[in-house]
């Protein structure tokens, strides 16, 4: 199946420092892709590049960028898709709503702009959207200011706003960070449901491997500005090829079972740090001399793709 969104060779630098160093990523129709990585891995930057929402000092270049067959390299194409064809759910829901306007007005203003609706029509559609994100008293929420709503409720409103343009792809950037566990579960379920109800696709950015296991069909693991491992969620959790991805899964599963996690030495590199040919090599338990000066080759095995000289082929190791 051809991809809905296909990005190849995306490079971004901010003030001369390389942030993304050749990101390849694709989202297939109807799937939810999880994008996992630690701070500075480039998860949000990848999403922002697709939406043409990079910070002012950033420069981006793509080798390929297509959305449903359309060339997305011209910034104008990406700007026009924003809101219409690609919806965005932010990390801090209350912070992304305007504090001085009622949330209903913010939602209907979005509808009037994106779908050329009149006032009355937009109000009716806004209430429908609030209902579709499982808000039981849409009239009250419509009249509320953001500070009168809980964090979970604000996030439902943001999801409704993201749905306003009837997008084909919904990008959610850490949508449940800062929410309580029980609310997080509800928001994730809601996201999964609204995406499948609309036959849309999703890109879910997170650092939580539990969240990925719960809602994502495929996972892309990023490290230091590159995607190092991609595969079906079940395959990645059964045994990721890339040692970094493999270790992350191993840490998460040992903690979850009350066992002692394996340590990953060192720290995540900062932008501008000198990087080895494989950026993970200095922290890697499988690294050999070649890892430091030869570009890691592409390994395609058991439904996964990874960039590594010494891929892990023995499941999740070592426990």
């Amino acid at each position: 199946m051809s991809a809905l969104l296909e990005v190849r060779g995306l490079e971004v630098s901010i003030a001369g420092l390389p942030i993304l160093r050749g990101v390849d990523m694709e989202v297939k129709p109807g799937e939810i892709l999880g994008v996992v990585g630690e701070t500075g891995a480039g998860k949000s930057m990848t999403a922002r590049s697709v939406l043409d929402l990079l910070p002012a000092k950033a420069t981006a270049s793509f080798a390929t960028c297509t959305f449903a067959g359309q060339d997305f390299i011209p910034p104008k194409a990406r700007q026009e898709a924003r809101g219409h064809r690609i919806g965005f759910v932010p990390q801090r829901p209350r912070g992304s709503l305007n504090p001085v306007f009622r949330v209903g007005n913010q939602l209907s203003a979005t509808l009037r702009r994106l779908r050329d609706m009149g006032r009355r029509e937009a109000r009716g559609e806004a209430l429908d959207l609030l209902r579709s994100v499982r808000i039981t008293d849409p009239e009250r929420v419509y009249r509320s200011f953001p500070h009168e709503l809980s964090g979970g409720m604000c996030q439902r409103v943001c999801i409704a706003i993201a749905l306003a343009g009837e997008p084909e792809l919904i990008i959610a950037d850490e949508p449940t960070t800062g929410l309580d566990v029980t609310i997080q579960a509800e928001i994730l379920r809601l996201l999964g449901e609204v995406i499948s109800e609309r036959n849309a696709a999703g890109m879910l950015i997170t650092h939580d491997l539990g969240v990925v296991a719960d809602v994502c069909d495929r996972v892309a693991v990023m490290y230091a500005g590159r995607v190092v491992n991609v595969g079906a969620t079940a395959e990645i959790y059964r045994g990721a090829l890339h040692p970094y991805a493999n270790r992350l899964v191993s840490i998460a599963t040992s903690l979850d079972s009350g066992g002692t996690p394996r340590e990953v030495p060192g720290r995540v590199p900062n932008p501008g740090d000198h990087l080895a040919a494989c950026a993970f090599a200095p922290r890697c338990f499988r690294a050999g001399p070649g890892c430091f000066d030869r570009e890691p080759p592409l390994v395609n095995q058991s439904g996964q793709v990874a960039f590594c000289h010494h891929p892990v082929t023995a499941g999740v190791v070592p426990r």
Partner: protein, 322 residues
């Protein structure tokens, strides 16, 4: 629950905040309501709950950063609830805290060495020169090098900054350390480093930890005992392994069911509790979970639930589950 040998024993600890509700009206908010807990030496008690459950207020009461409305705090069998002045300052060296945000909790103007030495200067009356040897040892112990003493917080990564916070807390060899979400702002790979460090320090110095967290996977790994809080009340407590294996209180069950697990075969149970956590001001006089609980009955609304021991130190505040 109270033994003569406990590092920390709190009894009936209560904190009521008087909140202005507009005009001349006030309302009483019970942030911590009749909490009784204890921690033996070298053990970790995790306090788990969602935002607004009172876990941070509880920590502040224990450290005497807030005055309790009622109840007692015993640190190593000494009642510190009413202590003041120099006496209290002495006790503070025996109890320390590690904060959630490692950068916010370090002074940006002070070198790492000065920050780590400060408790020794305050509590042991040492000079900077006398302290420097112990500071260097402590920095090495937490996985930094003595050269880090000359650095400033902005030169450190998140993991390194948290190691400095831990070094500062441990340098007086305290009996009790409160860990307030110490790993939740750290990256995954660094998080496990910090957990392993905390565990080895505990084994080496026989420290008791009060570990505050909302991350159940971290708690599952580090906690010996567990107390689950909801709207200021402890609703379930006991050995962590026992509670994870067979949670009894509906709220504990909801938390465990809602927590996403790193296993694609396991699907999170999304709907269990009804609605969202109300404000502690609007709490029912009976069970705090009344209104959201899937198994509640009318009597739950106004019958207060006390913790009842159901064997092996496992205690539950729900009449339907004892």
């Amino acid at each position: 629950m109270t033994g003569a040998a406990d590092t920390l024993a709190i009894r009936d600890l209560t904190k009521v905040f008087r909140i202005k509700t507009g005009g001349f009206r006030h309302a009483d908010l019970k942030a911590v309501d009749d909490v009784t807990l204890s921690i033996p030496p070298g053990r970790t008690l995790a306090v788990v709950g969602e935002s607004g459950s009172g876990k941070t207020t509880l920590a502040r009461l224990i450290l005497r950063l807030l005055e309790p409305t009622r109840g007692t705090v015993l640190l190593e069998d000494t009642d510190i609830t009413a202590m003041e002045g120099a006496e209290l300052e002495d006790v503070r060296g025996r109890m320390q805290i590690v904060f959630q945000d490692p950068y916010d909790s370090l002074s940006p103007w002070q070198t790492v060495g000065r920050t780590v030495a400060e408790p020794l200067l305050l509590h042991d009356g040492l000079t900077m020169k006398q302290a420097s040897g112990r500071v260097a040892d402590m920095l090495e112990r937490v996985g930094l090098s003595p050269e880090h003493a000359r650095r400033y917080p902005h030169e450190l990564s998140g993991g390194q900054a948290q190691r400095v916070g831990i070094a500062r807390a441990m340098i007086t060899r305290p009996a009790l350390v409160v860990l307030d979400e110490p790993t939740s702002s750290l990256d995954m790979s660094v998080q496990s480093q910090i957990l392993l460090l905390l565990q080895s320090l505990q084994e080496e110095m026989d420290i008791s930890y009060l570990f505050i967290s909302h991350d159940l996977s971290v708690v599952r790994y580090i906690a010996h005992d567990l107390a689950v809080m909801y709207l200021g009340k402890v609703v379930e407590s006991g050995p962590a392994a026992e509670i994870f294996a067979s949670p009894r209180h509906p709220y504990t069950e909801a938390l465990l069911r809602a927590a996403p697990r790193p296993d694609p075969a396991h699907k999170t149970d999304h709907v269990y509790l009804v609605g969202e956590q109300p404000s502690a001001l609007d709490r029912a006089p009976g069970c705090p979970l009344y209104g959201r609980c899937p198994i509640s009955e009318d009597v739950c609304a106004d019958t207060p639930q006390e913790l009842v021991d159901i064997g092996a130190q496992h205690r539950v505040a729900c009449w339907k589950r004892i």
